[in-house]
């Protein structure tokens, strides 16, 4: 007698209660999407019999994981849907998807010619071409590429200095900090150094692959995953914890690798930590001290990204922000921003994205903060593009609010 569940991603535990479909942000705005229950465990019963039961409508899933958060039966619905897209979809991913998901390739080229790239991507004719030929919606502006990658900056300006710290960690910077916004990486180094931690780059970090997974690029995603597990493994062997700043990178490295890609990361998973969780532990256990600037003042609204809700670590971010004197914090209602990474850039999804995010945009406007705090870079793009309010990563807020000199002295 089978006494335990043995099905992949627990799909056997589904009792078809439909709670997931009530929670899905896509269902109310897009009637073409059958909902997580049917796209996930319900449809899987048919797909296991014959792959031809796979429906193209699964492409409307945001991979936000809210269905999993709502599920009372422990079914990994989002994972079932992503796995189905990878294994049954057949055909090629869209050009738009492939282009945007190949962050290392695009980022590498773009940061070689950043100024031209940025100028060209922002012009109307190019946006029209991207819209009609490639499929990237013309309302969307491609995030700007940096003139110098974070890794290049780090090796030139900061690496040599890191060995003097008694505590060493490795930093998985992710594509955003590396190709688009190295300031985030710089803020991370500044904060962690002040707290007494030396930073090490990984020996060949690859894109975590979150966008490759949702665009069905199975081979590229698996290859990136294996490489990342290897280089993270090396850091762990050398006794260093691996700290991340992006919530989606974190979720992908820890959970998507085993659940969706079937890449074993059991030797490293527990050593991968989002910076807010890492710092919360360090501060509350007395391992490190925070000294803040006098007179720092900010009215901040915190938006918890969907992947952070899934990780369940939003409390660490709000606790850390709550430690900053002079910071007036409002926690925004739980609401998907709608962009879901590359999803919202595609012209087929633009309207759904904006409809999903609307309650969030409205609430931000009514709170009227100085800026929004958010750990996720694509939420940042979406909120900035859709509301005009600025979004800062909590690490950057800390970099601003901390008296780095006094903090360094306190942690010497």
């Amino acid at each position: 007698m089978q006494e335990k569940n043995i099905s992949k991603n627990n799909f056997e535990q589904c009792i078809k209660c439909t709670i997931c479909t009530v929670y899905c942000p896509v269902v109310p705005v897009n009637p073409l999407y059958p909902g997580p229950k049917q796209a996930g465990p319900d449809g899987e019963r048919y797909r296991l019999k014959k792959g031809l039961f796979y429906e193209d409508t699964l492409k409307y899933c945001l991979n936000c994981k809210r269905c999993e958060i709502a599920c009372p039966s422990g079914v990994r619905i989002g994972d079932i849907i992503q796995s189905a897209k990878m294994n049954y979809a057949g055909g090629f991913p869209s050009v738009a998807g492939m282009m945007m998901a190949s962050t290392d390739l695009m980022g590498g080229i773009a940061t070689s010619f950043p100024r031209i790239t940025n100028k060209v991507l922002a012009t109307r004719p190019v946006k029209e071409v991207l819209h009609s030929v490639v499929g990237v919606d013309k309302h969307r502006t491609f995030p700007k590429y940096a003139t110098e990658t974070f890794e290049k900056w780090f090796r030139k300006n900061a690496e040599a200095d890191q060995s003097r710290y008694s505590r060493q960690i490795s930093y998985f910077h992710g594509c955003y900090a590396n190709y688009n916004f190295p300031q985030l990486g710089k803020d991370f180094v500044a904060v962690m150094n002040a707290l007494g931690y030396g930073i090490n780059l990984l020996d060949g970090e690859k894109c975590c692959g979150v966008a490759m997974i949702s665009n069905g690029m199975k081979r590229s995603a698996k290859s990136a995953a294996r490489k990342n597990v290897k280089v993270i493994g090396k850091a762990v062997e050398d006794g260093r914890e691996v700290v991340t700043v992006s919530t989606s990178c974190t979720l992908t490295l820890r959970d998507e690798y085993p659940h969706v890609l079937g890449v074993d990361n059991s030797s490293v998973r527990d050593h991968i930590s989002l910076v807010e969780k890492f710092l919360y532990k360090a501060v509350t256990s007395g391992k490190t001290k925070l000294v803040f600037k006098k007179g720092f003042k900010a009215k901040v609204a915190y938006h918890c990204p969907c992947h952070q809700e899934k990780l369940g670590w939003g409390a660490f971010t709000t606790e850390l922000l709550g430690m900053i004197p002079g910071l007036e914090l409002t926690v925004l209602d739980s609401n998907c921003c709608g962009i879901a990474g590359t999803y919202g850039f595609k012209k087929a999804n633009y309207e759904s994205s904006q409809a999903i995010g609307k309650p969030l945009f409205d609430q931000i406007a009514s709170v009227n903060p100085d800026y929004v705090a958010c750990e996720c870079e694509t939420c940042k793009w979406q909120i900035e593009m859709s509301t005009g309010y600025n979004v800062k990563n909590p690490v950057s807020i800390l970099a601003e609010a901390l008296d780095l000199e006094e903090t360094a002295k306190a942690n010497f």
Partner: protein
């Protein structure tokens, strides 16, 4: 993370307890795996299945949660229930110390104590809906049992006609036939234009009828929609529940959750307690899946994880276990006493649950816990199905636990 009280399980009992504790000045955290059985609610709450519920309750055995609360406190809580929920943003219709009646989704007439907004209740088990009743359904909505309801109302003396309305707004929904569910319909009906379309369609059909019956699929995001529809139709309108998901239950759950958080309560959604760290009979902290090595510490812990459906209790072929903390469970060793082979007879397993003392303190390995309480359907001693007391036990045991904790100060 440290709190005054940690509530494990965010359903009706957990939320009532959390709201009451926050109001009493306690800092609470609620850890919940997913959404609760409120998603399957009939839209009504049951106190006890008897014409004189308080009298019947006073005669219950001492193991019953109601007996542990005591008749005097039960009366006090019953009289305060509508106020408590109204302050939390939930309107309940009913008589605090008595019972009313409703038509169930299967067409039966059953008792109810309180009805949520959007479900009709009657003051008699034989409501007269008039000679001619029009039952209106949405074309393609398979979860509204029109023929059962027609038969039931027919026995009460009404001649029923069943008609379907086809609205343009719902044709969009029907692209995915299995997703024509109450909640998707309710979402569309939250929009003014859809309500107007529906009201006009029904008015066209309702000429010459005494009463119109509609499925209770109104008001997913806020109360008041069913009232608006009834006024628009102009004829006496009755709302009868459909099969789950429950629009009223979902709205109530979301509203209670919002209230809890706006009072300062913290909610850890989609997380599961995996272990407890004990010092003798005191629970010092719990660890969860998401928080990993960071424990949640609290002065008091309240277990409101629900019964078998919510996996608060786990049944194996050999024993019944309390899933989160391994607390002591009341159940007979003889498995043949767990169930009756006749499905619709009283099933004993429904009354199984966590053993508690008269203050609802749980016990572990035979010892009463100093700071661990239980409330709701995880408790032993109440057979929610046979006694019609599920919501009553959830609400009242939750209030009792919150008050017991506040009193121990």
């Amino acid at each position: 993370m440290k709190f005054d009280a940690a509530i494990i399980g965010g359903g009706l009992a957990g939320l009532v307890c959390g709201i009451r504790l926050q109001k009493a000045g306690k800092k609470c955290v609620m850890i919940t795996t997913g959404e609760s059985s409120l998603y399957f609610s009939s839209g009504t709450m049951g106190l006890y299945n008897d014409d004189s519920p308080l009298e019947a309750i006073s005669k219950l055995p001492e193991e019953h949660p109601y007996s542990k609360i005591g008749t005097a406190r039960i009366r006090q809580y019953a009289e305060s229930v509508q106020q408590f929920f109204s302050e939390a943003g939930v309107t309940l219709d009913g008589s605090p110390l008595g019972n009313r009646w409703r038509v169930t989704p299967a067409g039966n007439i059953a008792r109810c104590w309180m009805a949520m907004d959007g479900v009709t209740s009657f003051d008699t088990p034989t409501p007269s809906l008039g000679k001619k009743v029009l039952i209106v359904n949405f074309l393609g909505f398979l979860d509204f049992n029109t023929s059962f309801i027609a038969e039931s109302l027919g026995r009460l003396g009404s001649e029923c006609t069943v008609k379907s309305v086809k609205l343009e707004e719902f044709e969009r929904l029907r692209h995915s036939a299995t997703e024509m569910r109450s909640t998707n319909i309710a979402r569309a009906l939250d929009k003014e234009e859809t309500i107007t379309s529906l009201v006009n369609a029904v008015k066209n059909l309702s000429e010459g009828f005494d009463t119109v019956v509609l499925p209770a699929v109104f008001g997913l995001s806020k109360e008041g929609t069913s009232g608006k529809v009834a006024r628009g139709i102009g004829v006496e309108t009755v709302f009868i529940g459909s099969m789950p998901p429950s629009v009223q239950g979902i709205r109530t759950q979301m509203q209670l959750s919002r209230t809890f958080q706006s009072l300062g309560g913290r909610l850890f959604m989609g997380d599961t307690v995996v272990s407890g760290e004990w010092e003798g009979n005191i629970l010092k902290s719990v660890k969860t899946v998401n928080l990993e090595d960071i424990p949640v510490e609290a002065d008091d812990f309240i277990l409101t994880t629900g019964s078998f459906f919510s996996r608060g209790l786990t049944a194996t072929p050999y024993e019944i276990k309390e899933t989160a903390l391994g607390l002591d469970v009341d159940f007979p060793g003889d498995r043949s006493l767990w169930y009756d082979l006749k499905f619709f007879n009283r099933q004993n397993y429904i009354a199984f649950g966590v053993k508690t003392d008269k203050n609802f303190k749980a016990s572990k390995d035979g010892q009463t816990c100093g700071n661990v309480y239980a409330a709701g359907s995880v408790l032993s001693g109440a057979n929610a199905l046979a006694e019609g007391c599920g919501a009553g036990v959830a609400v009242m045991s939750a209030m009792a636990v919150a008050d017991n904790i506040s009193r121990e100060e």
